[in-house]
């Protein structure tokens, strides 16, 4: 028996030991590994394309939720209802890891020119990434390489001062400006995008430092921090260089900027846009959001509406009784951009010959937004594919004027090469520095309408022109995603506490606000009377008027709002991350997360 058993066992054993590891090696055949990737431009591009996802989604741009554009539900920021999250809340760092991965693995590419180009692109996005973080959290830890899971010291790093972050961002963006292609592109980041970004974040930092000087939010600045003026000067410098050397100017028609399906047709002004194309399922919701009535009822507020000048350059709000005009009257002879931003009487939708009225189902102030609203076919859910502008020349013009005005060095010719170009495009008279400073607009600082209250501004010799630049920024860049951050850097959060208003109605009744022959709204008590009106709202329930039975629509009724000057300019750090770092990550001022460290 054993004679047979043993040979067979030996055969089996032999098979066993020859088999072993050689038969068990398997490597992926449909994927590459980091060691074998990043070899050439197409591989770098495929990896870097994800960086572009750092740019805001379309709805963050066409859907404002601030004092100029609002929705029927106020944001938690406006109501003072933000809380400390356990995780997330903007404290996400995956995008940075990707950027640093590319920077570390660039060495696999043999082509030096390509390496430089992609280093520049990655560093542009690193600056962009940190700009977003600084706006939201103030001080944040700086990482310029990927961190290993066991590098506890790095993972538990405390926050770096925003002064240091800015220094690094400037290094990154300067490298990007020097090394990104200077060929214009509607959709890809170029040298010009980098300059526009630099103009934007330095203006942000300069004005933030100026208006928040002495605030808790700047307590951690090192003693040798550069003065705010340095940031404004650098911002103005890069803006001016852009204005003089980029070759970008203004597109001839303001309305077309927001009603042209492809930004590649707007390359005279648009520096960078996000490409949407329904053929590839890359779509957004601007059509549905602005025609549906269940997606927030986006609306322009009276405050922004009233700040549009008259067509002759005079102030609308200087007229007696401006706040008791009916819609027909108040829309006459205004800055043409008004009727290019909202529905005014005689409004026609893109591609249509019939007129369309403001729809009170869809917009609850009566001032029905129109930017990025295209043809009716794109009104259904997720059916819009008009490109969304991320950077355009007009902003750089306004950054330039504002930086100089805040520095106190603004000259009339500076206005003429920047802000007044915007006025010229729409046929508005130019802004005169002297006139503006001689007669600051009282409406823009009127607390009853949520005007600017900052004492820093009040004491500024350039107050008049600064107010005019802010007006222009509101008018020109409305519904383009700037307003909330502007308020943060100007330290005007208290504005959110003032009531937001809409259209004026003298009494209950049925209204054809644009006088086109069809009734648009009935305001009633008890029960509605009209059989034909599109929308009926019950007074005191569905709609509130400032004077009770008459007056401006009071948006959001009595919803409580509370802005905490000692806390609300920055967001809280999530508690999980504070816990995991054992408190090395400090909480932002004023936020109580219940943790003892």
């Amino acid at each position: 028996m054993k004679k047979i058993l043993f040979p067979i066992l030996i055969v089996l054993a032999g098979f066993a030991f020859t088999a072993c590891d050689d038969l068990l090696d398997a490597v992926p055949k449909d994927r590459l590994t980091p060691d074998t990737f990043f070899k050439n431009e197409s591989e770098l591009k495929a990896f870097a394309i994800a960086f572009y996802e750092n740019f805001p989604a379309a709805d963050a741009i066409y859907m404002g939720n601030d004092d100029h554009y609002t929705q029927n539900n106020l944001s938690n920021e406006e109501m003072g209802k933000r809380t400390v999250p356990a995780s997330g809340g903007g404290w996400s760092w995956g995008a940075l890891r990707n950027i640093n991965t590319l920077l570390e693995d660039l060495e696999h590419c043999d082509d030096a020119a390509v390496r430089t180009k992609y280093e520049a692109l990655a560093r542009f996005f690193r600056a962009y990434f940190y700009f977003e973080k600084v706006k939201r959290f103030g001080d944040v830890p700086w990482y310029d390489k990927t961190v290993g899971s066991t590098e506890t010291e790095q993972l538990n790093r405390p926050r770096d001062s925003r002064e240091f972050i800015m220094e690094m961002m400037v290094e990154d963006i300067d490298f990007a400006i020097a090394n990104l292609p200077n060929t214009k592109s509607a959709y890809e980041v170029t040298k010009w995008t980098a300059m526009a970004l630099k103009s934007r974040f330095l203006l942000y930092e300069g004005t933030f430092r100026k208006y928040h000087a002495g605030d808790v939010f700047l307590q951690t600045l090192p003693s040798d921090a550069k003065p705010y003026t340095w940031y404004l000067e650098e911002s103005a410098k890069v803006s001016k260089e852009f204005i003089q050397s980029s070759g970008y100017g203004l597109h001839k028609n303001y309305w077309e900027l927001f009603h042209t399906m492809n930004a590649s047709d707007l390359m005279d002004e648009v520096i960078l846009a996000r490409d949407y194309n329904a053929n590839y399922g890359v779509i957004h919701n601007s059509g549905s959001a602005q025609t549906t009535g269940s997606r927030g009822c986006p609306a322009m507020t009276k405050k922004l509406f009233a700040s549009f000048l008259m067509a002759d350059g005079s102030r609308f709000t200087d007229q007696a009784g401006w706040d008791a005009l009916d819609f027909m009257a108040e829309t006459q002879n205004r800055d043409p951009r008004l009727s290019q931003s909202i529905r005014t009487p005689g409004y026609k939708r893109m591609g249509e010959s019939a007129t369309t009225s403001p729809d009170f189902k869809v917009t609850f102030s009566g001032y029905h937004p129109d930017k990025y609203l295209t043809v009716k076919e794109q009104d259904t859910n997720n059916a819009s594919d008009i490109d969304i502008i991320l950077f355009r020349t007009a902003e750089v013009y306004l950054n330039y004027a504002e930086a100089l005005a805040e520095l106190g060095s603004l000259q009339q010719e500076d206005l003429d090469i920047s802000l007044n170009q915007l006025r010229k495009r729409v046929g508005m008279p130019s802004l005169s520095l002297a006139v503006a400073n001689a007669n600051p607009d009282p409406f823009l600082t009127n607390p009853a309408y949520g005007g600017y209250q900052s004492s820093v501004l009040a004491g500024d010799a350039n107050k008049g022109v600064i107010l005019e630049i802010r007006r222009e920024r509101g008018v020109e860049l409305c519904q383009e995603g700037f307003r909330y951050n502007d308020i943060m850097r100007w330290k005007e959060g208290k504005m959110f506490e003032a009531p937001f208003y809409g259209m004026y109605f003298p009494a209950q009744g049925v209204y054809d606000v644009d006088q086109n022959g069809t009734d648009d709204l009935e305001i009633f008590t008890g029960s509605a009377t009209s059989k034909t009106v599109a929308v009926a709202k019950e007074l005191g329930k569905d709609i509130f008027l400032k004077g009770g039975n008459s007056g401006l629509i009071v948006l959001h009724g009595n919803t409580a709002r509370n802005w905490d000057e000692g806390k609300d300019y920055l967001y809280p750090i999530p508690t999980d991350d504070r816990n995991l770092t054992g408190g090395a990550l400090t909480q932002n001022p004023g936020w109580d997360d219940g943790l003892s460290f």
Partner: protein, 1083 residues
């Protein structure tokens, strides 16, 4: 045996009476029934309607036709059939049926006698499956084996069962290894009619021979084989079934337009004051009201009225549409057929079988349907007396056709929203409704448009498996077996979508082609899976001195699996009905009119090897010892971390074989105690290359950069290079007892399973790490459980005929705790902590609803924030939930978010199924048979998930298509203060930061249930009749599956408890019951 004699004394009297009444014209046949030890008393001898019982000497006589076939049965023996062939005098020897003690039980790479088992193995015989009308073996096993848990992901035809043995195996999951005739396979691919027996291996000792593959248990399925019993004649059997299926839950939804609009608007406006979901004016509501009771359209009050608005014709909808029954059928046909032919002659044994299953699904317009074909051919040749060669070929084909978008459950998801009962199923001119004048929403997100167009999907699986094997037996006691298997599987999927057509204004047809689901697009994919197995093993058996029995087995196993994906997409086809990539036409968006076609790929590979050995030794069948060991390697891990050894040992003591036990042997037949201990590796994980960081380039960027879906490269999460096997260490204690002539059998197991070195995100890392924490082998888990089976069976005479009946109960339970996890502070943020009981549900205590606004306003606790979220932004009102401030700090929160300091957050339940049970009753008499099978779970908590619309109704979203009839009776109002749900308010169950989304004990459900899983009633025609048509056996029966359930802790009648067990948002294919008539014919 004493009891046998007592019993037989009684039966002799009955037997005599029967004999006396026998008809004289038949001839009398007499004989003796015996076993190895001598005469068998009390055996029932039956031939047609005549029967007799053996006397004290084992003798009987019976008046029958000398060509008849005698059936001799006796408790404790196997029933035999003896053809008389003209004989008048017979001696019949019965084989003891020691209640399967001597049955061969399939274990890894061999069989063993049940008596000698030392591990935890349960056996299911073919008979337990044969009448079940569930479509697949997996579902049939539900409730039949203690410790084997079967669940289902949905109720669709052809949905595969999910198998689990003894609960939570690992943080990383893991499912049992299923072996079909020794080759890893999918339990769904087995024709239930082919199954001879199933062994469920539950402990490490028995599974260790499968090493790393067996850590979550093993299910061995052995298919039938032909035998030479019938003297070379083929045995042919046919089984056919015809029946219907129907939903297990109520399908009665609000179909009155008025109520549908009213309810949705009510829930909408309480969330968003001053606005309506559907802009029906008061006049419109009046129109709906006057039609409220029109079940069908009354010509005097049409459901669609065309009026003019702003110079344009518009549709006004005033319908009463029962959307559920517009979309779905309640009653659907199902049918199946199986033919088996088997036999053996000379050196050849064979079995050939074929099966066909068809089940139609719920969809009305283009019914979904599942078809399955099974073929099997098994043959074995005795080439010489020392060599046998065999072949086992099986083919499985299934096809599931369904309408709508990809993923059948997506249809159910879409159907839940935006179709008011006031909208008709279609416009009067037959066009579809997509958007209406009442709001900007799309009816069912376009589902009706999709269902009524050429959209469809087809899911096909082909699985062909061939095993060649040889058995060498050079001399007695020594065998060498080898086999090779090649299994080829294709999963083919096809989806066709077309542009949508709808009409919002009378006479104006619009086309929708601008987004996913509405492209003119043909998607096809093929997944090829090639699986090869090589096994070679040898067995040596030897006994000496009539006391020592020795058996050893050793072998090797090597397996490879290669998987390749190929995907194709072609846009803009020349036809909407023909479907082929060759029909792709020009892309209208391409300036040059080029074709738009996209492809995708992907492949994976897995190789494993194992060396295994087993030694069995027993002394006189009393003291049993088994040793197992296996050394496993897997390509999932890198060299150096690749191999794992899985050893195990088990011992058994058959106390009933001891001399001292003889005193009780009269009523106590068997007693065995056994214990096992062993360790297994576990390599189950979804990734094929978990130890390698990769960059995949198959992605397409949704950021276009002015181009068309540019390529995107994505790096996988960082990995830990030292990644290696998880291990599972198990000990199992079991007893097997039998009493009263094996009438009562009890088998019980208790076990502890430690899962060690589980792969998990080692340690939560700060978010600045920028990726999910890499997995490492850093966690342990302990599961403790027990299970038992109690069975009783007996026979007595009723009306002169033997009445057989049996009752068996299986029961199991287990609890798992985390025993190692790096989370010393027990922070919730890190998900797990030491001591955590798996499945615990944390939540708040809700102290009822506020009765009045005053009570709500004056509630001393700050309930404006719960869970740090603003869940009552507009303040509190009567009918809102009142969260209890358990820690008295005036706030509702989780404290420091850790165990021990969790504020008002406490454990309110556990989501693990407790007390799994099955109860089987069966009886047979005079050709009739009855089987009743209950299955259930004693207790399981479930918190209805956020947006689980079938549970929350319009509380989830205020635009529900399906609102339970009389739903308002369940909603709080001043008149209905004791209602179940809070005050009507939309969206409050939509996500976790809304009042109903916050887990709380008021809405926690106990989904423990009792289900009548199967009821079968059959009748077998007497053989004396069927024989005339040369039919051995003809049986007709009714069988019903899932006939009803009781779930007293689950609110409402619209959610099946097993659907709730899926734990998700319930937007799934509903669970079904079936009513089936069948016929079995054996020639």
């Amino acid at each position: 045996m004493l009891h046998k004699k007592l019993f037989s004394a009684l039966t002799i009297l009955v037997g005599l009476a029967v004999s006396l009444s026998a008809f004289a014209q038949k001839q009398t046949v007499s004989g003796t029934v015996q076993d190895n030890a001598g005469p068998v008393v009390g055996a029932v001898v039956q031939a047609g309607s005549a029967n007799a019982v053996t006397d004290l000497d084992g003798k009987f006589s019976i008046p029958v036709d000398p060509q008849a076939v005698l059936e001799v049965s006796c408790l404790g023996y196997k029933t035999v059939q003896v053809p008389l062939n003209g004989r008048r005098q017979v001696t019949i020897t019965l084989e003891e049926d020691s209640f399967v003690l001597d049955d061969a039980v399939a274990v890894g790479y061999g069989t063993t006698k049940k008596a000698n088992l030392t591990g935890a193995v349960s056996v299911v015989k073919a008979e337990a499956l044969q009448d079940r009308s569930a479509l697949d073996v997996g579902h049939m096993l539900q409730g039949s084996v203690p410790g084997l848990n079967i669940t289902s992901g949905s109720g669709r035809p052809g949905q595969a069962a999910t198998l689990n043995i003894r609960g939570w195996n690992s943080i990383n999951g893991g499912s049992p290894l299923v072996l079909i005739d020794g080759v890893e396979g999918d339990i769904q691919y087995v024709n239930p009619a082919d199954v001879d027996n199933i062994s469920v291996i539950k402990d490490a000792a028995a599974a260790a021979i499968y090493g790393a593959k067996g850590s979550a248990g093993v299910i061995l399925i052995t298919t039938k084989m032909g035998s030479k019993e019938k003297d070379g004649r083929a045995k042919v059997s046919y089984s056919g079934r015809f029946g219907v299926t129907a939903p297990t839950t109520s399908t009665e939804y609000e179909s009155r337009g008025y109520d549908s609009v009213y309810l949705n608007n009510l829930f909408w406006s309480t969330y968003s004051p001053g606005t309506k979901y559907a802009n029906y004016s008061d006049a419109d509501m009046m129109e709906l009201w006057i039609r409220r009771d029109d079940v069908v359209e009354n010509p005097a009050r049409p459901w669609v009225v065309i009026t003019q608005e702003n110079g344009q014709d518009v549709y006004n909808y005033y319908a009463n549409t029962d959307w559920y029954h517009v979309l779905y059928n309640d009653i659907k046909p199902t049918t199946s057929h199986t033919v088996t032919m088997s036999g053996g002659t000379g050196a050849v044994n064979y079995l050939v079988s074929g099966g066909y299953v068809y089940e139609q699904g719920m969809f009305k317009e283009k019914p979904d349907n599942y078809r399955r074909v099974n073929l099997r051919a098994k043959i074995s040749f005795d080439v010489t007396n020392w060599l046998r060669i065999g072949s086992n070929t099986s083919y499985f084909n299934s096809s599931y056709f369904y309408p709508g978008q990809s993923g059948i459950n997506n249809n159910f998801a879409k159907s839940t929203a935006h179709a008011l009962a006031s909208f008709p199923a279609q416009n009067p001119d037959g066009t579809m409704i997509y958007t209406t004048k009442y709001n900007g929403y799309e009816l069912m997100d376009g589902l009706m448009m999709i269902l009524n167009s050429d959209h469809f999907n087809q899911d096909k699986v082909d699985n062909l498996s061939e095993t060649l094997d040889f058995t060498l037996t050079p001399f007695k006691g020594f065998t060498v077996k080898g086999d090779y298997t090649y299994a080829l599987k294709f999963n083919r999927y096809m989806n066709r979508s077309v542009e949508g057509e709808y009409s919002k204004y009378p006479g104006v047809v619009q086309v929708k082609n601008d987004k996913d689901g509405f492209y003119d697009l043909l998607t096809e994919s093929v997944n090829t899976n090639v699986y090869q197995v090589y096994n070679l093993y040898t067995t040596y058996e030897h006994s000496w001195a009539d006391a020592h029995n020795f058996k050893m087995m050793a072998g090797v196993n090597y397996e490879t699996r290669w998987i390749k994906d190929l995907g194709l997409k072609g846009y803009y086809l020349y036809s909407t009905e023909l479907n082929d990539q060759d029909l792709v036409g020009p892309d209208p968006n391409d300036p040059d009119g080029k074709k738009r076609q996209e492809t995708s790929g992907g492949q994976n590979e897995l190789k494993t090897a194992g060396y295994f050995a087993r030694i069995n030794y027993d002394y006189k069948g009393k003291y049993l010892l088994e040793l197992n060991g296996r050394y496993d390697g897997s390509s999932r891990f890198l060299r150096g971390s690749r191999w794992v050894f899985s050893p195990s040992a088990s011992i058994g003591w058959r106390i009933s074989e001891e001399p001292f036990f003889q005193s009780v042997r009269g009523w106590w037949d068997n007693a065995k105690i056994r214990f096992s201990y062993g360790q297994l590796g576990n390599q189950q994980m979804s990734s094929y290359y978990p130890a390698i960081q990769t960059i995949s380039t198959d992605g397409k960027s949704s950021y276009l950069l002015g181009g068309a879906n540019l390529p995107q490269a994505t790096i996988s999460a960082p990995v830990s290079s030292g990644l290696t096997w998880e291990r599972s260490i198990q000990s199992n204690l079991g007893v097997d007892l039998a009493f009263l002539g094996n009438r009562l059998e009890v088998s019980a197991e208790a076990y502890i399973r430690d899962t060690k070195d589980m792969l998990t995100a080692g340690e939560a890392l700060p978010a600045v790490y920028g990726a999910s924490a890499p997995k490492e082998n850093v966690a342990d888990l302990r599961t403790k459980g027990y299970e038992f089976t109690i069975g009783w069976r007996d026979t007595f005479k009723l009306g002169g005929k033997p009445f057989n009946y049996g009752l068996s109960v299986v029961f199991s339970d287990y609890v798992s705790h985390i025993t190692r996890f790096n989370n010393p502070d027990k922070l919730f943020a890190k998900t797990y902590w030491v001591g955590q009981k798996y499945g615990d549900i944390w939540g708040y205590h809700v102290d009822g609803l506020f009765l009045t606004d005053e009570e709500a306003k004056s509630y001393a606790v700050d309930q404006s924030k719960v869970n740090d979220a603003q869940i009552f932004p507009d303040g509190l009102f009567a009918g809102d939930m009142k969260f209890a401030d358990l820690d008295g700090d005036g706030k509702i929160n989780k404290g420091a978010e850790k165990v021990g300091d969790s504020g008002d957050w406490q454990i309110i339940g556990n989501s693990q199924p407790r007390y799994n049970y099955g109860i089987n009753l069966n009886a047979g008499w005079n050709g009739f048979d009855l089987a009743v099978f209950f299955q259930g779970i004693g207790h399981m908590d479930w918190y209805p998930g956020a947006d689980a619309r079938a549970f929350w109704g319009p509380y989830a979203r205020p635009y529900m298509t399906f609102i339970p009839k009389d739903f308002l009776n369940d909603c709080w109002s001043e008149e209905n203060p004791n209602a179940y749900y809070p005050r009507p308010r939309g969206y409050i169950a939509m996500n976790a930061n809304r009042p109903l989304g916050v887990v709380n004990d008021r809405y926690l459900q106990n989904i423990g249930y009792l289900r009548l899983k199967n009821l079968t009633f059959g009748y077998t025609l007497p053989q004396r009749i069927t024989r005339k048509a040369s039919i051995d056996k003809l049986r007709i029966y009714f069988t019903g599956e899932n006939l009803f359930y009781l779930a007293p802790g689950l609110h409402g009648k619209y959610v099946d408890p097993e659907m709730a067990m899926t734990g998700g948002n319930l937007r799934l294919y509903p669970w079904q019951k079936s009513f089936v008539f069948g016929i079995d014919i054996t020639l």
